[in-house]
């Protein structure tokens, strides 16, 4: 079952989780917590899309359109036509 957050771009496939717990460790906003040997999304609204969980999940269970929530970088990218570094 794929969990799709209504607040942001976070998606999580619980079947792919092996319970290693690295997502709980790297998330700076406590979005994940361990629950009987698999990770659960407990605070989906707190996700800031930094991408730490996705890049560190060895099993590809997490998907997030990561980037920095920085308005000046986005506006600058839009004005100069350059791609924003993610």
């Amino acid at each position: 079952m794929r969990l799709v957050s209504e607040f942001n771009t976070l998606q999580y496939e619980v079947e792919a989780c092996t319970g290693c717990g690295v997502c709980v460790e790297v998330c700076p906003h406590g979005v994940f917590a361990m629950n009987s040997h698999v990770a659960r999304v407990v605070r989906p609204d707190a996700c800031m899309e930094c991408g730490a969980c996705q890049i560190n999940c060895p099993f590809g269970a997490i998907l997030v359109d990561s980037g920095t929530g920085c308005a000046s970088a986005m506006i600058r990218a839009a004005l100069t036509g350059k791609k924003q570094p993610t």
């Binding site: 771009t9 709980v24 700076p28 906003h29 930094c50 730490a52 890049i55 929530g69 308005a71």
Partner: protein, 336 residues
């Protein structure tokens, strides 16, 4: 030359102390106020703190002076190695977002410093906020080192090292009043000179009140907004900033309305409206720009704010500027 070749590694290891000197503190101050912002750098490579041996822990950080110094000053009395990645003078979290504090750079740096010959243990302690740039399982595959994510704040390291387990509290970022004012200081310093120039120009165009409005607008957006962020009414940055802008503009509008009662009411109203149309969108825009300085905004959230508010703010500001020019051309801009 016999001696040189008897070293286990050809790579340089620099000795470093935990204690910060007054020169270090001066550099921290300069970095905090935005002087030579991108030039507060440490040479990338391997550093020895205290008297480390082949079993000592290895800590990884960025080559931004404030990152490096936060780490080494937190490790007082601990013997270990510090591996500094080349992040081009950018802090750990931002560099991880940009990918310079990244898997490739870490693997390269481990090899360049011949870390496998310096230590026999195979663990690296990384700052948690480096995680957006690092795939821990990739590092293990490519370098043989196991990545361990330490706490968010270097200051928690001594406590963390007792068990190598971070408490949930150590894993969460914060954004306290002190944090907000610290990051706001850089923006205020950068804006100071342009603000004073515009304020001087506005003095000649519209007098003291117009000049004061420039200073109040800029300081509301860059200083008051960060300070009051959690308590401002509104659901997002732009609406919170707009509320603050209205609050900042209202004294000006009231003065324009009530002063000089001999002037025609519609001229007084025009001048008051000018402040109400120009100041709130500018403060709201500065508030929106503060998103990049925070510890919790997401890209999709900020994108949504940009698309929702920027056109409205631009229209409002445009109307205000047209009114300002009209009042100025007809020589009716409020001078008190």
């Amino acid at each position: 030359m016999q001696i040189a070749t008897s070293f286990p590694s050809q790579a340089v290891i620099r000795a470093i102390q935990s204690r910060l000197t007054s020169a270090d503190h001066l550099e921290h101050f300069l970095a905090r106020v935005g002087i030579n912002r991108m030039q507060h750098r440490v040479t990338p490579g391997l550093y020895a703190l205290g008297n480390p041996n082949s079993e000592s822990p290895v800590f990884v950080t960025a080559n931004y002076t404030l990152s490096f110094d936060a780490l080494r000053s937190a490790l007082s009395g601990i013997d270990g190695y510090i591996l500094v990645l080349d992040t081009q003078g950018v802090n750990v979290w931002c560099a991880a977002g940009e990918g310079t504090f990244g898997t490739d750079e870490l693997v390269r740096r481990i090899e360049a410093c011949q870390l496998k010959e310096v230590v026999s243990q195979r663990q690296l302690i990384l700052p948690q906020l480096g995680a957006p740039g690092i795939a821990a399982h990739e590092i293990r595959k490519r370098s043989g080192f196991k990545v361990e994510y330490g706490p968010v704040r270097a200051a928690d390291l001594p406590e963390y090292l007792k068990t190598h387990q971070a408490t949930p509290e150590m894993r969460l970022v914060r954004f306290t009043l002190t944090d907000r004012l610290t990051v706001a200081a850089v923006d205020v310093m950068v804006a100071l000179l342009p603000m004073l120039i515009v304020a001087a120009v506005m003095y000649f165009l519209g007098g003291w009140w117009a000049s004061a409005a420039v200073v109040v607008t800029v300081l509301s957006g860059l200083l008051l907004f960060p300070a009051l962020l959690p308590w401002l009414p509104g659901s997002d940055f732009t609406s919170k900033g707009f509320s603050l802008g209205l609050l900042a503009a209202s004294p000006f509008a009231i003065v324009m309305l009530l002063n000089q009662p001999e002037t025609a009411w519609w001229l007084r109203a025009g001048n008051a409206l000018c402040y109400l149309l120009i100041m709130p969108p500018l403060v709201a825009y500065l508030a929106l720009l503060f998103t990049g300085s925070t510890t919790f905004t997401s890209r999709s959230g900020v994108k949504k704010e940009i698309f929702t508010y920027i056109p409205r703010l631009a229209w409002m500001l445009g109307a205000g500027v047209v009114l300002l020019i009209a009042l100025f051309v007809f020589g009716r801009l409020g001078r008190f």
